[in-house]
């Protein structure tokens, strides 16, 4: 018996050795490694599945089309469960692999991004935070390695106000607007921007926090009923959105006076609310649906080839899936930009990818070439402006799908960007960072 085990053990170890021997050959070609601290389980797992599904599908798509000018993309996932400590563990585990030729790191979590900003700066790895925080990283002179690309909470809040203003004939004076928010970093970030807007546009701003997770909002909506606001801005996350919509219906507040942030505007938020969600609007920086040629092509190429990442293909073309694709598009474009400067067909080092992210210029023409017209706004970053766009669209839920209402709306940059500057300066002072001089960057 013991002999048998011995034989088995020897056979197993020989097999393992053979496996080990075959592995290295796969690493011979030029490769760009994406670390993906993703989440597919836990309270927000459903959101993560769509987002990272879209992200990986696009990377797969690029590989199937021959890579980034011949450079193949590799990636590795690590489950964070949206937990900061786990996110840090994942980052530390994968960073050695990423140090040679990294892709931008997407955590899709404000908390993990905060925890990684210092670490990524010290390790010189580019951190992307598309549409979440740390938002003051818009000021690239203080945060060279962090990129809150496309748009930030503050610019989004400003764009929402602009949208309301346009609806009300150009003025919001004397109106009452409620900011109903998830009481966390995520919900609080837009407050300063909204206060500045309220001063500028002379509307009354009422801030009402909802404690996590937000599945009971009776008291908050009582107050909203007393205040009779003209609009409610819903800055919710997860179960809070569905509850808000249902409670609004119960209290008789019109849903078409409610505007959500982009984390309150996916299918996962409205479908569970049933018909209470009809007419509800939200901001978004990418459209849903498979009408975009790129999404249709991914479905044909990647899923047709049996290499799709999503198990539940009904999520294809949802808001969050398309957001994952958009994030991947920008990441790959940054590497392309770097290659254009430092040598085509080569794997890009951390510094070069950082340069690529800082010098992104995705025009409408480029989006068209990618088949992504209308999927996301045009983006042009610089050392001064790591955000690069600040544009969002408004969309409305018609009971079955999100319908885009407007073209891209840009927030009030002149009002909001100085807020980032001030916040970044405070951060630099607390941490003892000397900001670099953006005029000297090339």
């Amino acid at each position: 018996m013991i002999n048998k085990f011995k034989q088995l053990a020897i056979a197993a170890s020989v097999a393992a050795a053979c496996l080990g021997a075959t592995l290295p050959s796969a690493y011979a070609a030029e490769e760009q490694f994406f670390m993906l601290p993703s989440y597919r389980v836990g309270p927000y797992g459903a959101n993560g599945q769509s987002f990272y599904g879209g992200f990986i599908d696009y990377l797969q798509y690029v590989n199937m089309k021959g890579g980034i000018d011949g450079v193949q993309i590799t990636w590795e996932e690590c489950e964070t469960e949206y937990n900061n400590a786990k996110g840090v563990e994942c980052y530390e585990r994968m960073k050695a692999k990423a140090q040679k030729a990294p892709g931008p790191i997407h955590t899709m979590s404000t908390g993990i991004s905060y925890a990684l900003v210092d670490k990524a700066t010290a390790d010189k790895l580019p951190l992307a935070m598309m549409g979440y925080g740390l938002t003051s990283a818009v000021d690239g002179s203080v945060f060279p390695w962090a990129f809150p690309l496309v748009t930030t909470y503050q610019m989004q809040a400003s764009a929402i106000i602009k949208f309301m203003k346009d609806k009300n004939g150009g003025s919001l004076a004397g109106k009452k607007i409620v900011h109903l928010y998830h009481d966390s970093a995520y919900g609080k970030e837009p407050i300063l921007a909204l206060q500045a807007e309220s001063k500028l546009n002379k509307f009354e701003l009422i801030e009402i926090p909802v404690a996590h997770p937000g599945n009971e909002q009776g008291a908050q909506w009582q107050r909203i009923r007393q205040e009779k606001p003209d609009y409610v801005i819903l800055w919710g996350w997860g179960v809070m959105n569905m509850t808000a919509l249902k409670t609004a219906q119960k209290m008789g507040f019109p849903r078409d006076k409610m505007i959500g942030s982009w984390w309150a505007g996916s299918e996962e938020d409205v479908i569970p609310a049933g018909d209470a969600a009809k007419g509800y609007m939200s901001a978004t920086w990418n459209v849903s649906g498979k009408a975009v040629p790129l999404i249709a092509d991914i479905e044909k190429t990647v899923y047709g080839g049996g290499k799709g990442n999503l198990k539940d293909t009904s999520k294809l073309g949802t808001i969050l899936y398309n957001r994952g694709v958009s994030a991947a598009v920008l990441s790959v474009e940054a590497i392309r930009a770097a290659q254009a400067k430092y040598g085509k067909g080569k794997a890009m080092g951390p510094d070069q990818v950082r340069w690529g992210l800082e010098n992104l210029n995705i025009t409408e023409a480029r989006l068209k070439a990618l088949g992504a017209t209308g999927l996301l706004p045009d983006v042009k970053t610089s050392c001064d402006n790591h955000e690069g766009s600040g544009k969002v669209k408004m969309q409305q839920w018609d009971g079955a799908k999100w319908v885009p209402l407007t073209d891209w709306i840009e927030g009030n940059k002149a009002l909001i960007h100085p807020l980032f500057k001030a916040d970044a300066a405070k951060f630099a002072k607390e941490k003892g960072i000397t900001p670099r001089d953006c005029s000297k960057e090339k």
Partner: protein, 358 residues
């Protein structure tokens, strides 16, 4: 054969009262410390420091704090994470608001603030016991997190409520490498753990244990209940507070109130249950078990599934990891309800008789 105290004669009170009265224990602890202070920094890589060793030491310290309160003084608490939050935010505020504040003093003041808050929330323990007290400390958990979210002053008016701590500097030396951070954490944890080890066998510790075993009897023999219980709360919260400050300054670098949720309190409670209630060593073993096992499973399961050609993807691995983790906790609790520390103790007793067990 090797682990036997025969022939070790104690001829002075000092020798009789040392922390580790058996020579082999003493040698063992010194060797362990030498390894931790000298060998580990030489061989470990940055992943080991940042993702394993530093959080392990910090959580061991927090578990130690809870063990003092729950294991030694018998007061059940579900507020450990909240006391960590107090320590972290207090240390941050002292560091940011007072110019030139030495970092160690900030940690100390963070711990003391947590101790003060701990005394406040320990007051109900004079009237209520057991599960009811656990519910009262639950109030601390929710109140403190709410308070840190509610008052922007406490996060130095950060627009998001998240605090991002300044770099750690001491006498011109910046602790920015993983090694230096690890050594700083290790020094603080070593000092506090030895202090705790000493404290639990002193008058104070004996009073705690008397209260734990039967508080009426303890009162009858002249132990002041209020004083003893509140002291336990204060010391325990101090340890948790320092752990919280280390967590913010030397581990994550930025914390938000939501990070110190009830989940974290439970995690610390599980550490002492698995490690051993009423044991200093148990706090370390428990922290290691709860923190490291998931990471180990996380790394080994994908490798295993590849080797055996099992169709696991990332999400499945996470689910399986949770299942194995849960099953192992149950297994340990059934096989050894007194925790890993008890296993170690049994091992030592066996070792004394080895190789001639009767």
């Amino acid at each position: 054969m090797f682990y036997r105290e025969t022939g070790q004669f104690k001829t002075s009170y000092a020798a009789d009262q040392q922390i580790f009265p058996i020579r082999q224990d003493r040698v063992g602890v010194i060797l362990l410390l030498l390894v931790a202070f000298i060998v580990v920094p030489l061989v470990a890589g940055s992943y080991w420091f940042n993702a394993i060793l530093i959080p392990f030491l910090i959580f061991a310290l927090a578990a130690l704090g809870l063990n003092i309160l729950t294991g030694y003084a018998g007061q059940l608490s579900l507020g450990s994470a909240a006391f960590m939050a107090v320590g972290a935010y207090a240390a941050y505020n002292f560091q940011v608001r007072v110019e030139g504040m030495p970092i160690l003093v900030s940690f100390l003041l963070g711990g003391l603030t947590a101790a003060g808050v701990g005394i406040l929330f320990g007051l109900p323990s004079l009237r209520i016991k057991g599960f009811y007290l656990a519910v009262a400390t639950l109030a601390a958990q929710f109140f403190i997190v709410w308070c840190l979210t509610k008052f922007p002053y406490l996060s130095n008016y950060s627009s998001s409520g998240v605090i991002s701590v300044p770099g750690v500097e001491m006498a011109g030396f910046t602790f920015d490498t993983p090694q230096s951070r690890y050594l700083l954490v290790l020094s603080i944890v070593t000092v506090l753990a030895l202090l705790a080890k000493n404290m639990v066998r002193s008058t104070t510790g004996r009073a705690w244990m008397a209260v734990r075993d039967m508080d009426v009897a303890a009162e009858v023999i002249g132990i002041r209940l209020m004083h003893t219980k509140l002291l336990a709360f204060a010391v325990s919260s101090f340890y948790c507070g320092v752990a919280g400050a280390l967590y913010a300054f030397l581990y994550l670098g930025s914390v938000e109130p939501d990070g110190f949720s009830l989940d974290l309190s439970f995690k610390i409670l599980f550490m002492i249950i698995v490690g051993g209630v009423g044991s200093i060593l148990g706090s370390f073993l428990g922290a290691a078990f709860i923190l490291l096992l998931p990471i180990f499973l996380d790394i080994s399961l994908p490798w295993l599934s590849e080797l055996l050609h099992l169709p696991f993807d990332g999400a499945t691995v996470s689910h399986i990891q949770l299942m194995i983790f849960g099953a192992l906790i149950m297994f340990f609790l059934i096989v050894e309800p007194h925790g890993l520390a008890r296993l170690w103790q049994i091992g030592k007793e066996k070792l004394r008789l080895w190789p001639f067990p009767h």
